[in-house]
């Protein structure tokens, strides 16, 4: 497999973290247009950790996740009581605020004769931890896939637990969940923080794959895509958003013949899909049918 194909597969895996982050909020009943902000927070935090402070990548990724969870929690505090469109707009505004903060962030240090660190709109070059340790593209893909598999295993465990049932209950009917004794605001805040951490982990891995990030990487376009992944792939299972990423990037790559028009073609296809299947391809009904079919065997 050539390096470009490996890069595409790695990007599919990386954007799956963002897709799962948006999905987690969707099943809790909230639509966020702002998960790209925490993806960006993770990318910058982990990049600063390894490239400027000389930390090993696992420590930098853990720092990125903690920061992602913390910032998401802070955004969630004033916004969590908003519902529907209002919450979506609040997350979009917060994400734009973060993007502007990235543009204002100038923090550089000279390393090996080169200035390294965030330089506002000029971006952040030299996130070389993975490169300097001689990782080949297929090895980095294997690493990202393994971490993604662990995250999916976590989702599967939560889906079978009381916590998973509570999250879905809050997503379906928060008033009814409150009647059953669920602290809706607290649970949603926890979900917001977890989704922030997950997006930040994806961002940390993305920054080290790309070696370069800039504020524009984390604008509204990425937020729309991250939300679309779950809505296309389906909300019935955590595999849904991953299917969404595969369709998104797969379609984009397979429609190269349309060149600059392929986003238009892609947008049209997504619109048709959402009209035909409003809760995505792997919606709850399909997932239940698959489960029943598997259990009767």
């Amino acid at each position: 497999m050539d390096e470009f194909a490996l890069g595409v597969l790695t990007n599919i895996a990386l954007f799956s973290f963002l897709a799962l982050s948006a999905y987690l909020l969707l099943i809790a009943g909230e639509m966020s247009f702002g998960q790209q902000a925490f993806f960006g927070v993770g990318a910058y935090a982990a990049g600063i950790g390894t490239a400027m402070w000389g930390w090993p990548m696992p420590l930098a990724a853990a720092f990125a996740m903690a920061l992602g969870a913390g910032t998401a929690w802070l955004v969630g505090l004033p916004t969590i009581r908003l519902r529907g469109l209002y919450f979506a707009m609040a997350t979009l505004a917060a994400a734009e605020m973060f993007r502007i903060l990235f543009e204002l962030l100038h923090y550089q240090r000279e390393i090996d004769g080169d200035l390294v660190g965030p330089d506002g709109t000029q971006g952040f070059r030299g996130i070389r931890w993975v490169l300097e340790r001689g990782f080949e593209p297929h090895e980095y893909l294997a690493l990202v896939t393994a971490i993604l598999a662990l995250v999916l295993a976590g989702f599967a465990l939560v889906a079978r637990s009381r916590l998973g049932a509570r999250i879905r209950m809050v997503g379906e009917d928060p008033e009814l969940a409150a009647v059953f004794g669920v602290d809706v605001a607290r649970l949603k805040l926890g979900v917001v923080a977890a989704a922030g951490a997950l997006a930040a982990l994806g961002g940390a891995l993305y920054a080290h794959h790309n070696t370069y990030i800039e504020p524009r990487n984390f604008d509204i376009m990425l937020g729309v895509h991250s939300l679309a992944y779950g809505l296309i792939g389906g909300l019935g299972t955590a595999a849904g958003p991953l299917l969404g990423v595969l369709i998104d990037i797969g379609l984009l790559e397979s429609t190269r013949v349309f060149q600059g028009w392929r986003m238009v073609v892609f947008g049209g296809l997504v619109a048709v899909l959402l009209i035909v299947r409003p809760r995505g391809l792997l919606d709850e009904a399909v997932v239940n049918r698959i489960k029943r079919a598997l259990s009767t065997r």
């Binding site: 390096e3 070696t211 376009m221």
Partner: protein, 123 residues
């Protein structure tokens, strides 16, 4: 999966740095065809300023505002006449700001990212 876990252990272990820090001067000139550019790249080491010849260089491009949505498949650059010089023809998808990704292999290994603005010509 075993291989992936072995890699995770490798990530956790402190290892020696292998990469060489390079810089590049990139000059892309438009051709008579829209969105097609002839690029000249000069590679050099950051620390010593020594020109880097004999490397395998490929050039890709990504639109920063649409990561993954608009990118071009990397093209292989050919060695130029002068030391450290490479040339390549790239074809972008649309006008706007792009991040050129220079992937260097061979005697040295590095990835260099340079910004490039593809402006629509006056007609």
């Amino acid at each position: 999966m075993k291989r992936a876990f072995a890699l995770m252990l490798l990530v956790a272990a402190p290892t020696a740095a292998l990469g060489q820090r390079l810089d590049a001067e990139v000059d892309c000139k438009p051709t008579k065809h829209d969105l097609v550019y002839d690029c000249r790249v000069v590679l050099k080491e950051v620390k010593s300023g020594r020109l880097v010849s004999g490397a395998l260089l490929s050039i890709g491009a990504d639109m920063p505002s649409m990561p993954m949505a608009h990118n071009i498949k990397p093209v292989r650059a050919e060695p130029g006449a002068a030391p450290g010089e490479y040339t390549a023809r790239i074809e972008l998808e649309m006008f706007g700001d792009w991040a050129l990704k220079l992937n260097v292999r061979g005697p040295v290994r590095d990835v260099i990212v340079k910004k490039f603005s593809a402006r629509e010509p006056d007609r």
